[in-house]
């Protein structure tokens, strides 16, 4: 009897403590949760509602159910913009990863001016996309840009970059990889530095050379950082917009139009906010699916030391 009372009291105290903790959790979460709720969740829910309507943003909304989704999923244009987005990712991801890894490995050595170099590679990351895109547009100018001038000097063909439909996406890939190189470099550098020195030494003692050490020790142990970079870069890749908007405007003749560019056009140029919202949700679903597959797949290849 007495024991039971004690347990009840303890349980009550525990419950009270829980509520108090919960109250504190709410207090500390509020500064980020409220903006998240107001500026992210609310518009997301609103866009789900809008996606079920036909709405030009000035007239009253008209219910169309899943009509927008049906139209988008059967329109060849949707396939085209996703194809362009995938082409962008296919070029961008390997380039930015390989480049970032090379620089991270190089800057992990004891170099003169290492701090300066690390900062220098990071500067593009914090530079505005509009400024970067304008500079690259100038560098890649087909007739009087620096890149084609140099290519011409060594006798290589001079591509039409953003005026040739086949080169528009590669030109965006180049600019994007250059800008994001520093970000990937920082993540991988941190990953490199987290690899315990003892393992490297043990491998050396076992007679592993530089390459062997890199491929059998460093690279596998870098996999958590690699995984993070791949997930983030893929999400960013699917959402590519600014550089396309400034550099090619989706042209020439729509050859570099990407998913988010199409969403922008639908909403703000064609007055089809419903279709734009529906396409946003389709993009969201794709990114969710791709990320889920990666989260599942990482169990097979990501090693945590």
């Amino acid at each position: 009897m007495a024991g039971a009372t004690r347990t009840d009291a303890a349980r009550q105290a525990g419950r009270r403590r829980k509520w108090k903790n919960l109250a504190w959790v709410v207090v500390f979460l509020a500064p980020s949760a409220i903006p998240l709720l107001v500026f992210k969740m609310t518009p997301m829910i609103a866009s789900a509602w809008v996606s079920l309507h036909e709405w030009n943003m000035i007239s009253p909304m008209e219910w169309v159910g899943l009509g927008n989704f049906a139209d988008l999923l059967t329109s060849p244009n949707t396939g085209e913009v996703f194809l362009h987005t995938l082409a962008y990712i296919a070029g961008y991801l390997p380039l930015v990863y390989a480049g970032g890894l090379a620089i991270a490995v190089a800057l992990n050595q004891k170099l003169k001016a290492r701090g300066f170099l690390r900062a220098a590679y990071f500067v593009p990351v914090v530079t505005s996309w509009v400024a970067v895109a304008l500079v690259w547009q100038w560098l890649l100018n087909p007739t009087n840009g620096l890149v084609n001038h140099l290519l011409g000097m060594v006798g290589l063909p001079e591509p039409g970059w953003w005026t040739d439909p086949n080169w528009a996406i590669p030109s965006v890939i180049l600019a994007s990889a250059w800008k994001d190189l520093g970000f990937v470099m920082v993540i991988l550098l941190a990953g490199l530095q987290a690899i315990p020195q003892e393992i490297q030494e043990a491998a050396t003692v076992d007679g592993a050379g530089r390459w062997r050490r890199f491929w059998s020790v460093t690279f596998p142990l870098l996999s958590p950082s690699t995984f993070f970079v791949v997930v983030i870069s893929l999400i960013n890749g699917f959402q590519v917009f600014d550089q396309v908007y400034v550099m090619t405007g989706g042209g020439p003749s729509g050859a570099s139009q990407v998913a988010v560019g199409r969403i922008y056009d639908l909403a703000f140029r064609y007055g089809e906010a419903g279709a734009a919202s529906a396409l946003s949700w389709i993009l969201f679903a794709i990114i969710m699916a791709v990320t889920a597959v990666q989260m599942y797949g990482q169990r097979k290849w990501v090693n945590y030391a």
């Binding site: 207090v27 409220i34 943003m57 005026t163 042209g251 020439p252 140029r269």
Partner: protein
């Protein structure tokens, strides 16, 4: 002791959070009713426009000052947005309920705004001062929803110095495309960076050049395209054939902002198809250059573009009376007419064309009569609901032809295939 303190902390944070939200909200509504009675009898009317951007800001300000002087209780808060951003900005403002009390509209977008109930019905306002065809253009369902603000057209600008140096006769009223091509070829000197011609390869030029070839952009019912014929082919070939031969290409910088203006005012462009709103800019940037204008050459017939802008009052405005006063003053007051004429802005939509005499006296260009002569044969822009999509299709297909990726025939077939569904 501990408990009360934590509670105070909690409620303090909660209060802050709520206050933050409230602040956010009140700011939102402040923007919404920014135009309104401030309680001291002073009323602010918000006015959003694009047409004063890039060169005529001071002219608009002069009109505003004159209005405020006459109407001491009313203040006009001007918001000027570049043309390229205007449509999206107005659309989002309307969607968010924060549109200005009075705002500018292009003729092409007037219908959708009138039908959406965004514009206040201003029927009954005195319309006697406006040209009748322009006042009618801004009616919908028998009601007046906006007032015409200005009209303008496109003419052929030419650099007399370049024609003189080449020993060629100046473009004349009776010129056709063939004359223009011959002169453009003779005047192009790529080595010196001098080009014979510049005409945007765009929708606005296309529907007009179709008309200049005696063709039609749409059929009579307006539910299908009619340009996939000999006239359309002539127009597409005429526009795209210039690129790289007598006109700079996209890679040279064509189609980028101000590229053509700079080319012409730096004396490196012989002929330029552009709007009469460029008069003051050219006169200002190239005061020593000799230039003039002429009615655009036609192919088989003459046809000139005419554009018109209007101003409407938001149906939700809290200051309807003051807004209407400003609307009337801004579109038809003597101050506005004088300013527009003296500064060679777009022309005022006056019923009494003798009021334009002052405009015709100003030089350069000497041949201002061409502005009025161009109105004798006007190619009106087709207005469809999916205007922007239609324009993008035409622009993209023409760009493909000028870059050599498609033939004019293929492009016309593509345009037809893509535009017809937009008209249903």
């Amino acid at each position: 002791m501990k408990k009360p303190r934590s509670r105070t902390a909690l409620s303090a944070v909660a209060a802050l959070a709520v206050a933050g939200l409230a602040a956010g909200c009140s700011q939102g509504s402040a923007t919404n009713t920014g135009g309104g009675d401030q309680g001291d009898g002073q009323v602010t009317v918000r006015f959003m426009n694009f047409s004063s951007n890039d060169g005529h800001e001071a002219d608009l300000q002069a009109i505003v000052s004159a209005f405020e002087k006459e109407n001491s209780g009313v203040k006009i808060a001007v918001e000027t947005v570049p043309y390229a951003d205007y449509a999206a900005k107005l659309q989002t403002a309307v969607a968010g309920g924060t549109e200005a009390d009075v705002f500018e509209l292009e003729y092409a977008s007037f219908v959708s705004y009138a039908k959406a109930g965004v514009l206040a019905d201003i029927t009954g306002i005195d319309t006697s001062a406006y040209a009748e065809n322009l006042i009618k253009a801004y009616q919908s369902g028998g009601k007046q929803y906006a007032l015409p603000e200005s009209f303008s057209n496109v003419v052929l600008f030419y650099n007399k110095d370049l024609f003189d140096a080449a020993g060629l006769a100046y473009p004349a009223k009776d010129w056709t495309w063939a004359d223009e091509t011959a002169a453009a070829e003779a005047l192009t000197d790529k080595a010196a960076g001098v080009w014979g011609d510049y005409q945007p390869i765009s929708y606005n030029e296309f529907y007009k050049t179709v008309a200049q070839s005696s063709g039609h952009f749409l059929n009579d019912a307006g539910d299908a395209t009619a340009f996939n014929d000999q006239a359309g082919l002539a127009a597409a070939k005429w526009l795209t054939g210039k690129s790289g031969t007598t006109m700079p290409t996209d890679a040279d910088g064509a189609n980028t902002p101000d590229f053509d203006t700079t080319l012409f005012t730096s004396g490196k462009l012989a002929m330029w198809h552009t709007g009469i709103w460029m008069f003051s800019t050219v006169a200002e940037k190239a005061p020593d250059m000799n230039w003039d204008i002429v009615v655009e050459p036609g192919n088989t017939v003459k046809a000139s573009a005419m554009f018109s802008n209007a101003v409407g009052v938001s149906a939700k405005s809290q200051v309807q009376d003051a807004a209407k006063k400003w609307l009337a003053f801004y579109t038809a007051s003597q101050t506005t007419i004088d300013t527009r004429l003296a500064k060679s802005w777009e022309l005022p939509p006056v019923a009494d064309t003798s009021k334009l005499d002052a405009y015709l006296q100003i030089t350069p260009p000497a041949n201002r009569q061409a502005v009025l002569d161009s109105l004798d044969a006007v190619a009106l822009a087709p207005v469809v609901e999916k205007q922007q999509e239609l324009q993008d299709v035409i622009d993209d297909e023409l760009a493909a032809v000028s870059a050599g990726r498609a033939t004019a025939e293929e492009a016309l077939a593509n345009m037809q295939a893509k535009v017809d569904p937009l008209l249903k």
